[in-house]
């Protein structure tokens, strides 16, 4: 494996932060080597400096994409940690549905949900499944907008395709749910069109301004800010507060905290889960 020098660590760490917002601890040189070494070798680079120069010069930004894919963690599961989905089903959705009830029964209820670091889509599909389970035949009365965004093009592509291998899917999803919403092809499961049609995915770098997203009723921002510096976390949650409806709901990772990061939110407990609302 290609060894990284102290100087290269500094340059690469700064570059990764610039393109993705991800902050990598420079004391963990093995992390850079295991994740970027094979890309460097594949591209015929004899040093990480050469990889960096090549990435910078690449007008199509294909190398940048490869680096983002290699660096970002896509550990995610359907209904990974069930508590946010229970929270959604039993507390948040009933409340928001009441709050957004239209004046005329002829009108539909509009609800916008955002999975801000959607990775390969499991979180957003889990949200869509939760909506269907809760509302069933009532679904027609609603106009749900479900958006998933991620920094990785590859993750967005897989999410949009909705195809998962058996290891990615069979843990976390009960057999009944699996068969209801997915079709089996050999060893892979593909999301059925009905579920696929409910969601949209697109690329977004959380470090950049959120333009054109509008206001959301519910935002999931789980286990992504942990890869950012304190300063970047503050900026991120401030922007999230800007695009969350005044009575909207924010769900962060179960081991994350907003203490010292964003004072615009207050934590609230429901059973074993915590969610945030604006002050």
């Amino acid at each position: 494996m290609l060894k990284i020098t102290a100087e290269e660590l500094k340059i690469i760490a700064q570059y990764i932060h610039e393109i993705s917002g991800i902050y990598l601890d420079q004391s963990k040189s093995y992390l850079f080597e295991t994740r970027l070494g094979s890309i460097a070798e594949e591209l015929g680079c004899t040093s990480y400096r050469a990889l960096y120069d090549k990435a910078r010069r690449d007008p199509a930004k294909l190398i940048e994409r490869q680096i983002i894919d290699a660096i970002s963690t896509n550990e995610t599961l359907f209904f990974r940690d069930t508590s946010p989905f229970d929270l959604l089903k039993h507390k948040i959705l009933p409340e928001i549905i009441d709050a957004r009830a239209p004046r005329s029964p002829l009108l539909k209820t509009n609800i916008k949900i955002w999975s801000s670091a959607s990775s390969t889509g499991q979180e957003l599909y889990s949200i869509a499944i939760t909506l269907q389970e809760l509302l069933g035949t009532q679904m027609a009365k609603f106009n749900f907008s479900l958006l998933g965004t991620d920094i990785s093009d590859t993750a967005i592509k897989q999410a949009s395709y909705g195809k998962y291998n058996k290891f990615e899917i069979e843990r976390g999803l009960p057999r009944q749910t699996l068969q209801k919403h997915f079709t089996l092809f050999g060893d892979t499961w593909k999301v059925k069109d009905e579920l696929r049609g409910m969601v949209n995915f697109r690329k977004l770098n959380l470090m950049l301004p959120f333009t054109g997203l509008g206001k959301f009723d519910i935002i999931f921002c789980r286990n992504v800010a942990i890869y950012f510096t304190l300063e970047d976390r503050k900026k991120l949650f401030n922007k999230i507060a800007d695009c969350l409806a005044d009575d909207g709901y924010l769900i962060i990772g179960s081991t994350e905290s907003l203490t010292g990061i964003c004072s615009r939110f207050i934590p609230k407990r429901h059973l074993r889960a915590i969610f945030y609302q604006k002050k």
Binding site: F167, E170, G186, S254, T255, T259, S263, I266, R269, R272
Partner: protein, 188 residues
Amino acid sequence: MNNLTILVVDDDPVIRRLLEQRLAKENYTVLLAEDGHKAENILQGNHVDVVLTDLMMPGDIGGIEVIDIAKDLNRNIEVILITAHSSIDTAVEAMKKGAADYLEKPINFTELFLRLEKIATMRSILRSAEDLRQAMDVTETNAAATIQNLELAVGNIQHKLDTIESILTDDSIDSDIRVTNALNILLN
């Protein structure tokens, strides 16, 4: 150390015996079935990691049906098909149904053992990934409970401080009363 249990399904007793001997010599646990029905019975009553089945067998259950039976019982069972060269198209079809691999007759044992090792390695990687996930889940659940309690406690303290601040800075009220009110909030 090979700890995989392999079910051999073949109507030819010579091939069954040959496979049994060679696999046992490599320390695999071997179960035998001469047709699809026997295979189904064995699969229902035993833990099997890999099914090694002939594609063409007399009777109503062929190799393709064996894949379905095994996968219906447990999706983690891997199936390797043994085929004559002429039936490779069918074997490819079988891969689409979830077969792990196929081998052409006559069986090349070096090849067979390599495939089995690959399956064993894959299983041990999956097992350790699963162990890590479980360990992570336990850690995460505990950490989450601690963090959430702290988060709520800090939230309450912050709320108290905000209230006290607004009381103390309210010029319309006499300063002694302000201090008393603020103290009351603090002590509650």
